[in-house]
Amino acid sequence: MDVSSLPISPSHRGKLISAGYSSLSSLSSLSPSRLALDLKISENEAVEILKVASGRSGQDKIESGSRAIVNGAQTAWDMLHEEESSKCITTSCSNLDEILGGGIHCKEVTEIGGVPGIGKTQLGIQLAVNVQIPAEYGGLAGKAVYIDTEGSFMVERVLQIAEACAQDMLEYNTLLRRDLVDKQPKSFLDNIFYFRVCTYTEQIAVINYLEKFLSEHKDVGVKVVIVDSITFHFRQDFEDMALRTRLLSGMALKVMKLAKKFNLAVVLLNQVTTKFVEGSFQLTLALGDSWAHATTNRIILYWNGNERRAFIDKSPSLPSASSPYTVTGRGIRNSTSNCKRVKLM
């Protein structure tokens, strides 16, 4: 293992090499004061360098077949247990929940895209409300962070959906003849943290800041982060496409990290564009092919004749299927048409 691959500043790297430390093994049994003397740097800096080096060489030990436990890994068995017991965020449409394997999963990044007017923002708002459903009703009792880049978050609509959700919960109460928690619609609104982002710089800043925000609000339990939409600021007049790809993949990694670290679901809403494929123009989600790899799950919302349908375009564990849904005054609900069968493709 080479010293030149360590994530340290160039001047430190240069000093290490000129002092003769070209491989990690040469640093393995060195004391910080010795290193500081050799490189003519402060002892603190030496400690930092040695920390980074030992982190790397820890991986080396695994390669050589030693029995050292890898830092931060989980056995697949533990992961299975976790996944089975984790709850999903329902979309309020049972057909949609069915093809999603229960709903939107935590610890995953789900991308939802579609033409304007198909209901992406509606779904986003529905999820922001549904994540707050108390545990007694099978929900996550969490809070939501809604990052709005387009200005499509209409508070009146959130209130409508929250009222419908509260009503549904009351009905559930009477069905089970239990006296459970009675949620006021306005309290739903109080648990949605709203960020309005106007440029791509702010978008990146919010994602960076979210880690701190979530750590500070750890007791509060944010369970879903919705970005509506990730595309908007990256589409217009972005001259440097290479920069765009870099920034987007950086954002994708960061949100994935947030999802895993704080055990929440990340929902990214995307727009559509046309692509010339096999001799004709076809619709496809925006941001290009490299972005398509960045998210865990991909759902495309589309029109099929007169009904709205959702299609699982990409998922590591769910089969490709599509199901109908409608957008009603109360939010996203099951479609009441005759051809309700979930179509496996």
Binding site: P116, L189, I192, Q236, G250
Partner: protein
């Protein structure tokens, strides 16, 4: 926010100096580089870079609020919680009060259908004092097609009309607007129409109005005013670019039989603009009657209202409206349209 200077962010002196030495002066410059790139560029350790980036992000990040405080703010500060009533009861109910503040509302339809009439109606309404149901402020009317005639449509001193003659003039007027909107207590901005300028000049499909789209949106938002734009239509073959790969291809026979292909008119400026607009009101004529449909709106169901225009103005035939199903709501029918504009598609000839 993006142009906040790093020097003013209160970072530790040493690292702030390095930032400026490397010509990374604003938050935007810093976010355009990944942490590793910054580390290479500035020759500083990773931890320091990450701490600095976090601090910069925290400061350039917009403030957050809960949805509840947003609602209360609107209710408290704004007329009818941020809506301009149109006077057409069915529409006002469907839109939770009227044309909403802070977002772009679009009227789209073929020529002669009544878009300008709607705009004029809204302009007059907004200029009325609040006691009479208006917004009591000035209105800026950007009249691209020179349709505004105060003699015909009535006038008040509060409607300011701009008539830019070219795209560059239009751009200029937009830029100057930002300042005057706040200074002159403007309550409504109308642009009639967005498409007239570009198609006149270039004649080959919609040019990039990307900057204008975001700028108009940002005007609407920061000044919290309603912005109304009108949009023309252009012909498009129905099945072009309306399917995803997984939906399979259009069957060849439907393309060959041209009489069966429906020519649906699609709003000019394309799908990109369609994403930027929040409320889409489509006007069309159907069996001799005029219809206004709510095609895209996050707060209302897809309803359509038949209306008529006469000397006394616009009135709805029926305040209840009819449910518009499916993607029909988004497409525009225009009967009596002779001479189909060839969109350059081989199969149509």
């Amino acid at each position: 926010m993006a142009n906040k200077l790093i020097s003013e962010m209160g970072l530790p002196k040493s690292i702030a100096n390095v930032f400026s030495a490397r010509n990374i002066l604003t938050a935007k410059d810093a976010s355009s580089l990944s942490e590793f790139e910054l580390m290479e560029l500035m020759d500083v350790g990773l931890e320091e870079v990450m701490a600095a980036v976090l601090r910069i992000s925290e400061i350039s990040c917009p403030p957050y609020q809960t949805a509840l405080s947003l609602l209360e703010q609107r209710n408290h500060n704004e007329y009818l919680a941020g809506h301009l009533p149109t006077g057409l009861i069915g529409l006002d109910e469907a839109l939770c009060g009227g044309i909403p503040f802070g977002v772009v509302t679009e009227f789209v339809g073929p020529s002669g259908i009544g878009k300008t009439r709607f705009c004029l109606k809204l302009a007059l309404l907004a200029s009325l004092p609040t006691s009479h149901g208006g917004l009591g402020g000035r209105v800026i009317y950007i009249d691209v097609e020179s349709k505004f005639s105060s003699r015909r449509h009535g006038s008040t001193g509060r409607i300011l009309v701009l008539q830019p003659a070219s795209l560059s003039e239009f751009t200029e007027s937009l830029q100057k607007l930002k300042v005057s909107l706040l200074q002159h207590d403007v309550k409504l901005l109308i642009i009639d129409s967005m498409t007239a300028l570009p198609s006149g000049e270039y004649g080959q499909g919609p040019p990039k109005l990307g900057w204008h789209i975001s700028f108009i949106k940002s005007l609407a938002e920061c000044c919290r005013i309603p912005v109304v734009v009108t949009n023309q239509v252009r012909s498009q073959v129905r099945d072009e670019a309306s399917r995803y790969v997984f939906q399979g291809h259009v069957r060849a026979d439907t393309l060959e039989d041209t009489s069966k292909v429906e020519y649906h008119l699609v709003a000019a400026l394309g799908i990109h603009w369609a994403h930027a607009v929040s409320i889409h009101l489509v006007l069309e004529s159907r069996s001799g009657k005029r219809l206004i449909k709510i095609a895209k709106s996050s707060i209302s169901p897809s309803l359509g209202f038949f209306f008529r225009i006469d000397a006394s103005g616009i009135s709805f035939l029926n305040n209840e409206g009819e449910e518009m199903t499916g993607p029909e709501a988004n497409s525009i029918h225009c009967q009596g349209q002779s001479g189909i504009i060839n969109y350059g598609h081989e199969a149509l000839q």
